[in-house]
Symmetry: C2
Subunit: 228 residues, 2 copies
């Protein structure tokens, strides 16, 4: 019966893994971008940032390369690395991709496991509680969790990863909008409608509702962004 405690400890293996400095730097930059601390258009000078973070230029370049696929930064040959300036075209593309992925994942609701379904509901409950307390940060967080939970209904790590990537770009785009309260207020109503439809197993209607939500959220963003 030694296998039980060996397995229990092995579960913590991931926590022991060494993380390279380049990975740490990349994670930190990503986090700062998503918090709006590094605003769109900002140029990240290797010299300045390397000195500020106390890492070598080579390590920083490795971090930039790690971040390339996130599309939060733009790496321009010989000119440097910039925080991406989201455009209306970006948003159109993002929402097209999200519509396919999230609506596709939502169709799997009937076959999804209980934990995945609960996560969808809990995200909306969290946002509702936030709204009752006038805590709009929580409402925004709940909205994020709701959409991530929908993608997770499919149960695919790869799909989750891509969904998170798309969502991060949406968050970057939303930073252009200074006042987001009214948007989240409205989105919460929508999300509650979707969850109610799901509770009644009206999946097709929920999918339609989600698609309609995407059309509206897309227009909200597009009207605030440069056309190119």
């Amino acid at each position: 019966m030694t296998d039980t405690w060996v397995e229990a400890l092995a579960g913590g293996k991931a926590d022991l893994e060494r993380v390279s400095t380049a990975q740490k730097v990349a994670d930190m930059i990503r986090s700062r971008v998503l918090k709006g601390e590094l605003e769109p258009g900002l140029r990240l000078s290797e010299e300045a940032l390397g000195t500020a973070l106390g890492v070598s230029r080579n390590t920083l370049r490795e971090a930039f390369r790690l971040l390339t696929h996130d599309r939060l930064l733009v790496h321009e040959h010989s000119r440097g690395v910039f925080v991406r300036v989201p455009t209306a075209a970006d948003v159109r593309d993002l929402y097209t991709a999200r519509r396919v992925i999230e609506c596709g994942a939502l169709r799997l609701w009937p076959a999804a496991d209980k934990a995945a379904k609960d996560a969808v509901r809990q995200a909306v409950d969290f946002a509702v509680k936030g709204a009752a307390k006038d805590n709009w940060n929580d409402v925004g967080t709940g909205n994020i969790r709701f959409h991530q939970a929908i993608t997770r209904l499919a149960g695919s790590d790869r799909l989750n990863e891509e969904g998170d990537r798309l969502y991060a770009e949406v968050r970057l785009a939303f930073q252009v909008i200074k006042e987001t309260r009214s948007f989240y207020e409205r989105y919460l109503v929508w999300n509650r409608t979707i969850v109610e439809l799901l509770s009644k197993d009206e999946v097709d209607q929920a999918v339609e509702s989600l698609a309609e939500y995407f059309r509206i959220a897309e227009e909200d963003l597009v009207t605030h962004l440069p056309s190119s």
Copy 2:
């Protein structure tokens, strides 16, 4: 009317862009992996590869970082970079993701533009011609194009990128199977069926057929791969 020729030349702008050595090295490694020249499990030594390619270790490391998101290589801290060994769990996850994405994109067939629809048909035609000539390489290529064309029905660059990434992993997994002719022969029949259904605008049936195809292709692979 100068705008016409200026625009025509500007269309070639992308061809003039400088490409970093790191990017070139990454592209070359990716291509070699997909061609099966670097087989699953192989360890890519920085020293050996840097010397062989005539690039510095730092440049090679940047290339490895660029390749991380492709999931074709696995970067293990302090141990090096390896060509990924696909497992049955990988394949399960891949096909779950592809089912959501490709079936979701296929639903958009009615609203898709003519060029995108033609690409789907042409891919199957190409494979059919290849089969008639006993050119199974062409059949395989046609299958790839078919699936890529389906994803492209949605018209989203981000979705195309992810679709291609997933497909590349599938190709890596398929390298475990030495003899693929019988698979592609069967898949071609399936693809033709799907195209016929689409021609009759029976989109729901086409989506169902594609989903069924994925279930079968998934089992084909899973039965040939290590469980972990």
